[in-house]
């Protein structure tokens, strides 16, 4: 079992000479232990938070604009304020179901620094008045489950979690929960269904905004692991220090996984808002350029669901307000890089197959349309497609996402960008995600499809009859 990364105990992760808000302990082999955590300033943020009225802590988070790191990028402090007045109890559900293709950082945060996450959960519960916390970890993440379980057991024993935390009178349980393998459960309403013991099928928003109608029908805050992991640092250093990093609309840092055809694929904590894709893919402190001296063909900028970018978009920063108009999204912080050797239809198929396979089956366009797309695409990849299939792909896509679908601009093709977002006929984003790679590939690399398919010869029905 070989391992990349800076340290053998943190494969995939690379430190750097950058601000480290959530990965500050990743270089320590025993970073997951309570002793190391406390020795490196752990639970200090909690202590600071408890030393202030809850409302003030909430305000601090609000003014820091901690963007959600789960995909939607909604500011945590604002989300906590969306619960209906005077409805109790309210819950915190921690989304550790990380499964978006290309994405991983929550796994590392749970494996490498579980106490930091626990501390973040406690701060959130305190600030937003949440009575019980459920920490939902993806089923396949055995090590993360073990690390968080150990950390929780230790933290309970030491009085950091549970009854009368640090003698403050603040009490909250964190219940470790674990899944069993279903990507869609990462979607917050599906996460809640799953946590209620049901099939993880998303609920329609509206009306089921978790902040209003969530777990057991109560107001529920769903936050991503990384989002919460930001809170201890924020409590110790304050919102001002937090917003001093990055840009006003995208402050702080974020963890990004870059995989695919680069020299040094890895997970990096980057400065939000200012770091560009070029920095990330070609900068020496990051991926160091394309592998084997190849050239960049395309990249997926924000997890498998995101429409693709071309070298044209390399100078865009990690800033939603710029990536959206350029035709894609930042999503979950995952970049997948394709060099010029990449078989584009085949690459698209690996993603479309993923979303078709992960469809929960609740709504017609995704359940039927996703598989349909996959079938056609795989026929094309196998060299058995016709030119009519290419139109059909777009037609099926129209039934999933009516109207113009976002894509990047291309100088080579002479096309302008269609901005994000799209319209959709589905309940959640899985259906559109099955179409996104097909649409990007077909729009940006049509020639690779044309070369693969045979032209269908149209035989008029009457002619068939005449021949008999």
């Amino acid at each position: 079992m070989s391992a990349g990364g800076t340290n053998s105990f943190a494969p995939g992760f690379y430190e750097g000479d950058r601000p480290r808000i959530v990965t500050s302990r990743f270089g320590l082999e025993d970073s997951h232990t309570l002793a190391r955590f406390v020795a490196t300033g752990g639970y200090e943020g909690l202590r600071r938070a408890l030393g202030r009225p809850a409302g003030e802590v909430h305000d601090e988070v609000r003014s820091a604009t901690v963007l959600g790191r789960g995909g939607a990028g909604f500011p945590a402090g604002t989300k906590w304020g969306l619960t209906p007045q005077e409805v109790w109890p309210r819950y915190l559900v921690v989304n550790g179901d990380e499964s978006e293709p290309g994405t991983y950082k929550d796994r590392l945060l749970m494996e490498r620094d579980p106490h930091q996450l626990i501390e973040g959960c406690l701060i959130a519960c305190y600030a937003a008045g949440l009575s019980q916390c459920f920490l939902y970890i993806r089923g396949e993440m055995a090590l993360a489950q073990e690390r968080v379980a150990t950390a929780l057991n230790d933290a309970y024993a030491a009085g950091y979690v549970g009854r009368n935390i640090l003698g403050s009178g603040f009490s909250v349980d964190i219940v470790l929960h674990w899944g069993a393998g279903a990507y869609v459960v990462g979607e917050e309403t599906a996460l809640i269904e799953s946590l209620e013991g049901n099939r993880g099928m998303p609920r329609l928003k509206p009306p089921y905004f978790p902040a209003a109608i969530g777990l057991y029908g109560q107001p529920t805050i769903v936050n991503n692991v990384e989002t919460l992991a930001n809170l201890p640092w924020l409590m110790v250093n304050g919102a001002e220090a937090y917003t001093a990093i990055g840009t006003p609309t995208s402050p702080g840092t974020r963890m990004v996984a870059v995989s695919g055809h680069v020299k040094r694929p890895g997970v990096y904590e980057i400065v939000n808002g200012t770091t560009t894709f070029r920095d990330l893919l070609f900068g020496e402190e990051f991926c160091g350029g394309m592998r084997d001296g190849r050239t960049l063909k395309a990249f997926v900028p924000g997890g498998g669901s995101a429409p693709w970018f071309l070298p044209d978009q390399l100078d865009l920063p990690f800033e939603a307000s710029q990536v959206g108009p350029a035709g894609s999204m930042l999503g979950s912080g995952a970049v997948m890089v394709m060099d010029d050797t990449t078989d584009i239809p085949r690459a698209a198929l690996t993603l479309t197959r993923f979303y078709a396979h992960e469809s929960c089956g609740k709504c017609t366009p995704c359940r039927e349309g996703g598989t349909w797309l996959e079938r056609i695409l795989s026929r094309i990849v196998d060299g058995k497609g016709t030119d009519a299939d290419l139109d059909q792909l777009m037609e099926v896509g129209q039934s999933i996402c009516p109207g113009a679908f976002p894509h990047a601009s291309s100088e080579r093709l002479g096309i302008n960008a269609t901005p994000f977002p799209y319209r959709m006929n589905t309940i959640c984003f899985v259906g559109p995600s099955a179409f996104a790679p097909v649409h990007s590939a077909l729009t940006l690399f049509r020639e690779e499809f044309d070369a693969r398919v045979t032209r269908r010869i149209h035989i008029p029905v009457s002619a068939v009859g005449a021949a008999q």
């Binding site: 009306p207 929960c360 039927e368 039934s399």
Partner: protein, 786 residues
């Protein structure tokens, strides 16, 4: 503020309904109510939006996406699912734009992608929403050339329902119904994504009393009912709206026939009654009407055995007996129509009979109808319902559904007083267990409980009262009811007597006169004091709990006339048997448990020469020289109006063919005497004999699809009691008392408290009725291993 110049008082403020909103649908302004869904508002306005998963009586899930419409939003038109989007004031909805059309076509195409094109052999073909919408809203052709999903062709998921997974479009209607409405989540989606399928758990069939509803609401032919499979094609079907009289809920239905044979009943959505639902017993017992065993000609006893004869010979014989001067008794009438009961009441009057009773000693005194009455709706809207009743799921299934819905979704609090767990126990706010005979004490303990008495003091209380135990006298229930009503005087009462038209029959002339109820009539007959005993769709030998009394009564009557659809045990003992037209073979009206009068219809020709009960009575009146002058049903109803104006008016109204008209006579409380019950010896069990939905009654026994569903005779006791007796589950035990003994398999059940033994009534297997004696308030038995 100045005090003089305001106009207040001069222009009365028009009260603005805070819930009224105005929206526009396709350019038309539409009044709607806050919280209403767009699709519901559109339905009301006749703007049909196609749909598959939406059902107005279930929660919306937004799965099929067929109901997408365009709504004007801040950033231009948005597509929303109209089955989950509530109306909002000023909302602009368009259901026919290019975008909408395109979406609808897209959904249809996708649904058809994996749908077999076997409409010509599908039961639903011709009445299939998918087929219809494929024509009206489909793309015209499917471009899906991939291989379709394949599953094993129809598999039985219960004795009554087949599932064809290839046809299923995964709308969640059946599964939602099972979970949400029936509370029997025995079917569920399984697997995921494109492999999602509806399934049961292995070896645990979808044995819900309500399973037929899933067949009715399945928008494709994926679910089919065993009794209807391949029976008819929709274009051969004729139908009329009617009322189910299998029990006294009185569900509205349509009765469908093909080539003069009943082939299907479907529920009709009647807002005050059944909301479109039916129970399986009511839904599938049309099979019994078609039974080969139906009586088609009159029979008369000659040389000790029954032989076919003509109507005139048979009727002459009956008239002769009636004229003979001896006492005439009429038992039964609750399986017929209001008109049947009325005419037989008239006949009883004409021959001066004081012996009549529509109940088989298995209900409550008809004085319960004189108490202040509740309706199904008022019970569901109540703050508290007190159940002093049998298991409604077993006896009055759709009432169970209505109360369950009120308790689970609308905050109704149920206080259940029962001898053992019932279908509503999981939804009861409080359940009080009491031994047979101890209901009065149970009521006292409810009233003594601080929480429960506070709840009752909160007002809006309905008492649902019925005969929960046939091995216990009705007097104990009446005494308990009286105790409750004296403490909660404002409470209203919903009597739940089970037989289809028992309330109509009792109200229209077949109620006991001077206390001459079925038991005393049978006692009189046993003593040779009844000259002519008419059994009007009644079978005392099967139905009267005191079997010994029934046997003596039938044997002692000088002349027995049975008017029935089948040769029942009692009819087989009769001197004359007159074949009766069955449900679906005659028009008329019926009265449900709340006193609601609605119509029943003739859909097919009566079997053989059988005729409606009222005609038989009319002819006998004629033969007796007391012709009532009735030739048609309208004549009967006119006569009925004169004697019973409320019933007559109801029968004549238009509403009788829709939701019906409630006719109640509720008055004031009449005190009922307390009953003293001797304590049970600690070796004994106190016996509960209660009904199950499926039993040996002709409606089920003569319907092949249901004949095997009766669970069979057994004695249920608490597991610790089974241990005490020393009997393993399933082992035979002897259940005995001084009257008789019977051998039954024992079933240990946590639903039964210690010291109580529950035996289902009228089941295949040993007959428990020998243990029961009328006049004894409770029945105690011993249980020993054999």
């Amino acid at each position: 503020m100045s005090t003089t110049e305001t106009n207040a008082g001069e222009t009365p403020e028009v009260p603005v309904d805070p819930n009224a909103v105005s929206i526009s649908i396709n350019g038309r302004s539409v009044a709607a109510r806050k919280g209403e869904l767009i699709i519901a508002a559109a339905d009301r306005e006749g703007e049909y939006i196609p749909r598959f998963c939406y059902h107005p009586r279930m929660s919306s899930v937004g799965m099929c996406r067929q109901c997408l419409v365009e709504v004007e939003g801040p950033r231009g038109p948005m597509m929303v699912v109209s089955c989950m989007t509530p109306v909002a004031d000023g909302q602009v909805v368009r259901t026919e734009t290019e975008q909408v059309k395109r979406a609808q076509e897209g959904m249809i195409e996708m649904l058809l992608a994996n749908h077999p094109l076997d409409c010509p052999v599908c039961d639903t073909g011709g009445e299939c929403p998918l087929q219809d919408q494929a024509f009206s809203h489909g793309p015209g052709e499917s471009r899906f050339v991939e291989e379709k999903r394949h599953y094993e062709k129809p598999i039985p998921i219960s004795d009554l329902v087949f599932l064809d997974r290839e046809r299923c479009i995964l709308c969640d209607r059946c599964t939602r119904f099972a979970r949400e409405v029936a509370g029997d989540p025995l079917i569920s989606f399984t697997q995921r994504g494109n492999n999602t399928q509806v399934m049961t758990f292995p070896d645990e069939p979808f044995a819900s009393y309500f399973s037929g509803n899933t067949v009715q609401i399945c928008p494709v032919g994926a679910l089919t009912a065993q009794p209807y499979r391949f029976k008819a094609r929709p274009w051969d079907l004729e139908q009329r709206e009617s009322t189910c009289t299998t029990c006294s809920v009185g569900c509205r239905t349509v009765v469908q026939s093909s080539r003069d044979e009943l082939v299907r009943y479907q529920g009709v959505d009647s807002d005050p009654v059944n909301w479109g639902w039916m129970c399986d017993r009511g839904r599938f017992n049309f099979q019994s009407v078609n039974s080969e065993d139906r009586l088609g000609t009159p029979l008369m006893r000659r040389d000790g055995s029954l032989a076919a004869t003509s109507w005139s010979v048979a009727l002459d014989a009956v008239a002769r007996e009636m004229r003979s001067g001896g006492a005439v008794a009429v038992l039964g009438g609750s399986r017929g129509t209001n008109e049947d009961a009325f005419m037989w009441g008239l006949l009883a009057d004409a021959v001066g009979s004081t012996m009549r009773d529509a109940q088989m000693d298995d209900g409550l005194p008809s004085s319960v109808f004189s108490l202040p009455q509740a309706t199904i709706d008022s019970a569901c809207a109540a703050g508290t319902v007190v159940l002093l009743a049998p298991d409604l799921k077993e006896e009055l299934p759709v009432l169970h559904i209505r109360l369950r819905d009120a308790a689970t979704r609308h905050g109704l609090r149920i206080i259940e007083i029962a001898s053992h767990d019932t279908g509503l126990t999981p939804h009861a706010w409080r359940s009080v267990r009491c031994e047979p005979g101890a209901q009065q004490d149970a009521v006292r303990s409810v009233l003594a409980d601080a929480e429960m008495s506070a709840q009752l003091a909160g007002g809006n209380v309905v008492v649902v009262v019925g005969r929960a135990n046939l091995a216990e006298s009705a007097a104990t229930t009446m005494a308990a009811l009286d105790g409750l009503l004296s403490a909660v005087p404002a409470a209203t009462v919903l009597p739940v007597l089970r037989r289809g038209n028992v309330r109509g029959a009792l109200g229209l002339g077949l109620a006991p006169v001077d206390g001459n109820d079925t038991a005393s009539v049978l006692e009189a007959a046993a003593g040779g004091k009844v000259a002519c005993l008419v059994l009007l769709g009644a079978d005392p030998l099967s139905d009267v709990a005191d079997a010994d009394l029934a046997r003596r009564g039938i044997a002692g009557a000088r002349f027995v006339v049975a008017v029935d659809t089948f040769l029942t045990r009692s009819a087989a003992q009769a001197d004359v048997v007159l074949p009766a037209a069955a449900y679906g073979e005659k028009d008329g009206t019926t009265t449900n448990l709340e006193g609601r009068v609605s119509n029943v219809v003739q859909k097919i020709t009566p079997r053989g020469t059988s005729r409606a009960d009222w005609m038989v009575a009319a002819e006998l009146l004629h033969l007796l020289g007391k012709d009532a002058g009735v030739a048609t049903l309208a004549d009967v109803q006119r006569l009925m109006s004169a004697r019973f104006p409320a019933f007559g008016a109801a029968a004549a109204s238009v509403e009788v063919r829709r939701n019906g008209v409630v006719v109640t006579s509720g008055g004031a409380r009449q005190p009922a005497p307390a009953v003293s019950v001797t304590p049970r010896s600690s070796y004994d069990f106190r016996l509960v004999v209660s009904r199950k939905l499926y039993d040996l009654a002709v409606g089920t026994a003569q319907s092949p699809s249901m004949a095997n569903l009766a669970p069979g005779a057994a004695v249920l006791v608490h597991p610790l009691d089974a241990e005490r007796v020393g009997a393993r589950d399933g082992a035979n035990v002897k259940v005995s008392n001084s009257h008789s003994s019977v051998v039954l398999p024992v079933v240990s059940s946590g639903a039964v408290p210690r010291g109580t033994a529950v035996v289902p009534f009228n089941q295949p297997g040993a007959d428990v009725r020998g243990l029961i004696r009328r006049g004894e308030p409770v029945t105690d038995v011993r249980i020993e291993t054999v």
